[in-house]
């Protein structure tokens, strides 16, 4: 079943999670990634993202 059929099937119904909730979840996803790149204190994570942290002004060291 493709997405179009599913979507048209629920076209009159409220989805389980509001669009606001879904956007908030997407923001949380983004924040987790940014935390991993910019803030994760683990040494290996720091070393891997070292040059990125310096470039994007995340406090490093």
């Amino acid at each position: 079943m493709n997405e179009q059929i599913i979507e048209s099937g629920i076209s009159q119904a409220q989805p389980a999670v509001s669009s606001l909730g879904q956007s908030a979840a997407a923001m949380a996803f983004g924040l987790v990634l940014l935390f991993a790149v910019g803030f994760l204190p683990m040494a290996a994570a720091h070393n891997a993202a070292h040059d990125t942290r310096h470039t994007l002004t995340f406090p490093c060291h």
Partner: protein, 258 residues
């Protein structure tokens, strides 16, 4: 489903912006980082650079020997590329989530030219705003403890982001709050280290590092500017092309609730 569309499009935008950033960064920023590190490595053991406050006895070099680190060369470049793409996806997820809500709630329509303005705002909030208080640092620079700098970074980025959004989209009566939100992080104390920024024993090295440090602000600023312009415009483009396409927002139809 909106969440899935936001995440998938954030991945697309993050790849594009992360690639562009990597090219600019590898050509302009990385040579400065490597040059600064050459002084750091030449430092005699026992000189504390303040990078690892908890282990000053190890000589201050921040790359602990037992932890994994990418080897210089292709491995280090690839690891930077991966980190840049991840950061791009993260920023794009935030931007797309905000843009989609503004459009769904009928507050604003985000066209591609407006995406450019979002890019400039992202540059202001995530680079310039923290950079004014704590100039971007090259390896080897001594500064305030990491925890306080990270806390202030979050404070200023959140404050300025909210402030800019309020100034751009909130009703007039809220604008003063927007200005306050931008100013507040600067009114609380900015982490500051009293003392020389570079502790290298050779004055020539300190001069060289100081020069690199000044160059670094310009070069990293330019990289961030390009990164954010690409991220902002690409986000606005995918927003209308893919994220909200077929979903009925107040700007195209009110037929279908989201």
């Amino acid at each position: 489903m909106l969440f899935r569309r936001l995440v998938m499009n954030a991945v697309v935008v993050g790849f594009i912006a992360g690639f562009v950033l990597s090219i600019v960064q590898i050509l302009t920023v990385n040579p400065i980082i490597v040059a600064a590190e050459s002084f750091e490595q030449a430092e005699p053991a026992g000189v504390v650079t303040g990078q690892h406050e908890q282990t000053p006895a190890t000589g201050g070099h921040h790359h602990s020997a037992d932890a994994w680190a990418p080897k210089d060369g292709i491995e280090r470049l690839l690891s930077t590329l991966v980190a840049n793409v991840m950061a791009g996806i993260g920023f794009a997820a935030l931007v797309l989530a905000l843009m989609s809500q503004l459009q769904i709630q009928g507050i604003a329509t985000v066209s591609v030219p407006k995406g450019l303005a979002w890019g400039i705002a992202g540059f202001l909030a995530f680079f310039l705003a923290p950079g004014i208080g704590m100039p971007p640092e090259i390896p080897g620079a001594v500064s305030a403890p990491i925890a306080s700098r990270q806390l202030w970074w979050v404070l200023v980025v959140v404050g300025v982001s909210i402030g800019l959004l309020v100034l751009a989209y909130a009703p007039v009566k809220w604008k003063a709050f927007g200005l306050l939100s931008i100013a507040a992080p600067y009114l609380v104390s900015i982490p500051h280290y009293d003392g020389p920024m570079f502790t290298h024993p050779d004055p020539d090295a300190v001069n060289a590092l100081t020069g690199l440090h000044q160059q670094f602000f310009m070069v990293s600023g330019m990289s961030n500017f390009v990164f954010w312009l690409v991220l902002g415009t690409a986000s606005a483009w995918v927003l209308n092309r893919w994220v909200l396409a077929g979903l009925h927002t107040p700007t195209n139809s009110t037929q279908r609730p989201l």
